[in-house]
Symmetry: none
Subunit: 188 residues, 2 copies
């Protein structure tokens, strides 16, 4: 399921610091690409098109649009495991950052701006489900893919999927499997 992020006129207006009426006029004049819903004719702006528009007009790009598709954040308590995952991902050309605790993981969400994170469900002092909840309820982050990697029993992995994980993987895992999952998640 490829989810395309779109904006309403109201949202675009906030980002641009103008009235939504103005956004509509820009759309009508063809300066900003958008499409219409059949009902009332609501406008929807694809995130891609919006960013293009922002760049064309030298607008500041909001942080949440800056995420690069190759950026990954590895949230993992064990240094060995983290390095192992990072090695595989880097070999695939990804820009990898590692967080060994909840606080730095949270801080890196904005400093590294990952498009995807791999999440160890059970880190000492970090509730993986809490992280999932936080990400899914935060509009700035909710489009981030989350790959849960865990040694927990299957039931926990099931629950992770229900609570917002994009994919899950059991530990120990196969490197090839890891690469496949990553590729799949980032391709849509």
């Amino acid at each position: 399921m490829s989810e395309v992020r779109v904006l309403t006129t109201g949202e675009a207006a906030k980002y641009c610091g103008v009235n939504f009426r103005t956004i509509i006029r820009w759309i009508e004049r063809g300066r900003l690409k958008a499409y219409k819903l059949p009902g009332r004719g609501d406008h929807r702006i694809r995130e891609d098109d919006f960013v293009v528009f922002l760049k064309e007009n030298d607008f500041p790009i909001p942080e949440e649009f800056e995420a690069q598709s190759s950026r990954v954040l590895v949230v993992e308590d064990s240094k060995e495991m983290a390095s192992a995952i990072a090695r595989v991902l880097r070999r695939e050309g990804m820009d990898v950052a590692i967080a060994h605790d909840g606080f730095s993981a949270g801080a890196m969400m904005s400093s590294h701006k990952p498009r995807m994170i791999t999440l160890d469900l059970k880190m000492p002092g970090l509730d993986g489900f809490g992280v999932l909840e936080f990400i899914r309820n935060n509009s700035e982050y909710k489009s981030i893919k989350v790959l849960v990697i865990s040694a927990e029993p299957p039931a926990a992995l099931e629950r992770a999927l229900v609570e917002g994980a994009s994919a899950v993987m059991e530990k120990p895992f196969d490197n090839i499997e890891l690469v496949e999952k990553i590729q799949e998640l980032l391709s849509n």
Copy 2:
């Protein structure tokens, strides 16, 4: 979604006590950062950029922008304690956010952009000393004041001071004492 507050030239002119024509000239000369709308070429000035400009030129900072510099993040496991602290701080006119776990605390460091944080040293799964280390080693955050609030023995508080806390306070604490410490930390 990040709410981007922006000013028009007219608004900026009022704050600076000059004609809007002058604001435009400052923008044209590159003294004041701004971007242009595609329509009439209206200028929009991001609030952040405007405050930077005001500070650079020793303009008095209007109150509504001061709020920006009185943001506090309360990192505290117990909801009751967090609410109590937040209540006191809000009464002092601060803009308070609360984080109950390490991950959201880290995430809020960038979304709330606090000038100060109050930190519970011993939260389940959050190593307060680790947080101090992270903040002090991160150029983006190192100017943030950290008030450690803890029920730990004095030795731990001493250590917190050594490791970068701006001030410490024992639990239970006195509201008046809290206000005093906060005022002191924010005044320099």
